[in-house]
Amino acid sequence: MSALEIRGVRKSYGSVETLKGIDIALQDGEFLVLLGSSGCGKSTLLNIIAGLAEATSGDVLIGGRSILGVHPKNRDIAMVFQSYALYPNLTVRRNIGFGLEMRGVAADEREKAVNEAARLLQIEALLDRKPSQLSGGQRQRVAIGRALVRKPQVFLFDEPLSNLDAKLRLEMRTELKRLHQMLQTTVVYVTHDQIEAMTLASRIAVMRDGRIEQLGTPEEIYNHPATLYVAGFVGAPSMNMLQAKVEGATLAIEGSDARLPLPARFRKMVGEGARVVVGIRPEALRVAADATVPSLPVEIEVVELTGPELVTSARIGAQRLTACLPPGSRVSKGQAGIFTFSEDAVRLFDPDTGKAFAS
């Protein structure tokens, strides 16, 4: 039995359909990240799970029990919000214990649970402060504590790290990962940050226009994107997309004389003369000393040292591509160069449907 099951959920606001049939089943202890750009419907889906919005059709089950129409407090969920949503007039102690207080849990039991959550989140010293006396990171810890203390069947996180600065976001991300590994509770986490998605998730659902574009493990999403959208959305810098044409056993890069060998695994999937999009991750590219196979002759345009890597923007004919090279790579602005890569790194997409040719 799934810990959380979403069956054919649709949501319309008047004539606008924001969710167009979502199906996901989560096993106990899974960490699902709903990833997508603004307006893709990820927060709406989370609100439907929480009971803060009603689905137009479909069903949501927690522990095998349908929860549609059930009040949020009776859904056995806890939620952490982007804005922290702490009660400004209550102390940290009462904020964390609020859910238990509302459920009539005895004061001593409540106190014990609050202290335990505070210890886990290292905020014991803050228990008697008001939210206004806390930093952003501390507030988010309190918000997480308020969810933890309830020991729900499913945790819901709505972009919880978006309001934090980069350093704090990194710390809290690690903290969340640590907590999930320790507690092994089922989590649904909404974000538009692909790094958060990749690092935290056991599975990612990439959403677009109210649909799930791809549902898979971070490794599957990153290495085997199902569509051009997923390939472009996940990864920074995003995957290089080169327009090409199948000519015999080669891929002729449009607007240049460059030809790549067509990997054997795709030969039965694409016909002679077919137009395809060749996808290669920037970090799969390396500088070649000479024209080894496969290779892409490029003209280097911009070289940026980010610290751990050299982000190089280059041109191949009329098309652009980016490479993330080791810092010592011999590339310089305005010079010609040759990039090489492993054939395994090549992905092919149908430019008309946007779908990947399964390899």
């Binding site: 803060l52 009660y87 007039n89």
Partner: protein, 294 residues
């Protein structure tokens, strides 16, 4: 630009306003203070200096103490009722339903009407011969005979309070409604997930956001209610048997009906002092509330 020049320029710019303020408030105030130490009549010569006699006579008179109690009762009950009804109306108008915009606009009507119109309207409702209240209560068999609501000392003040609430609750409702719309949606959602019922949601989530704006409404309304004159004057003229006489009406009667300008001036200053004490106390309270909210 030097600080001295900035200060001088600021004072120069404020000067016209200060001159007007001194002319229309400062001078009459000084004149009233002077008058309050004399036995001057409304007409005739300036009167003789009597020291604090006007004050001691007024403060020791039963008229004053009785009127102070009546005014306090009127202010406390009507403002409390306005606060409760105003907040309830705001909570209702904050819900999503068809016709909400129309209802919000209609609600402003009693407050937008001139007090004299409102008072006349309520006089008609309370009319002992053809008033709507008597008709409704008799038809509901709650009373046997028509009553003179404004003519009986036992009911006149309550009837006035109802009329005053009707006029002023929309102001509180508007202020509360604006505050309600500032309550973050996430906090309300969090309280729902946390299992807070309607009462606890109001107490722990909504009230903290309402407290500041409501405090301002409370200050304004209490001061207004303490100075009440027009609605009472139109509906009962302070009667029957002075049972609805407010301090402002007592000042009017003393200065104009009985033409005792000196005594009236002393009473007016006592009322001003009481209202100032209220205003200062509330201002301190507002500062304290604002301080604890940050």
């Amino acid at each position: 630009m030097s600080g001295t020049w900035m200060t001088t320029r600021a004072w120069l710019l404020m000067l016209p306003l200060l001159v007007v303020m001194v002319a229309v408030i400062g001078w009459p105030l000084v004149d009233t203070v002077n008058l309050s130490f004399t036995d001057a009549k409304l007409v005739g010569t300036g009167g003789n200096y009597v020291g604090f006699d006007n004050y001691t006579n007024m403060l020791s008179s039963s008229n004053f103490s009785r009127t102070l109690v009546t005014t306090t009762l009127f202010a406390v009950i009507s403002v409390a009722a306005e606060m409760v009804i105003g907040v309830l109306a705001a909570l209702l108008l904050n819900q999503q339903f068809h016709g909400r915009a129309v209802l919000r606009a209609l609600m402003i009507l009693p407050w937008a009407l001139p007090t004299v119109v409102n008072a006349t309207l309520w006089r008609l409702i309370y009319n002992p011969e053809y008033g709507a209240l008597n008709a409704a209560l008799t038809q509901l068999h709650l009373i046997d005979d028509y009553r003179s609501w404004l003519g009986e000392p036992g009911t006149a003040l309550a009837a006035l309070i109802v009329a005053d609430c009707w006029k002023n609750f929309p102001l509180v409702a508007l202020i509360a409604l604006a505050a309600l719309q500032a309550v973050p949606r996430d906090i309300t959602a969090a309280s729902l997930v946390d299992g807070a019922g309607a009462f606890n949601r109001f107490r722990f989530v909504i009230l903290p956001y309402l407290a500041g704006p409501l405090m301002v409404a409370l200050v304004l309304r209490t001061i207004e209610a303490f100075k009440v004159f027009d609605i009472i004057w139109v509906m009962t003229r302070g009667g029957p048997a002075n049972s609805t006489r407010s301090l402002s009406i007592l000042v009017y009667q003393e200065a104009f009906s009985f033409q005792r300008a000196g005594s009236g001036a002393s009473l007016a200053l006592i009322v001003t002092l009481l209202v100032t004490i209220l205003a200062v106390a509330y201002a301190a309270l507002v500062r304290k509330t604002a301080g604890s909210a940050t």
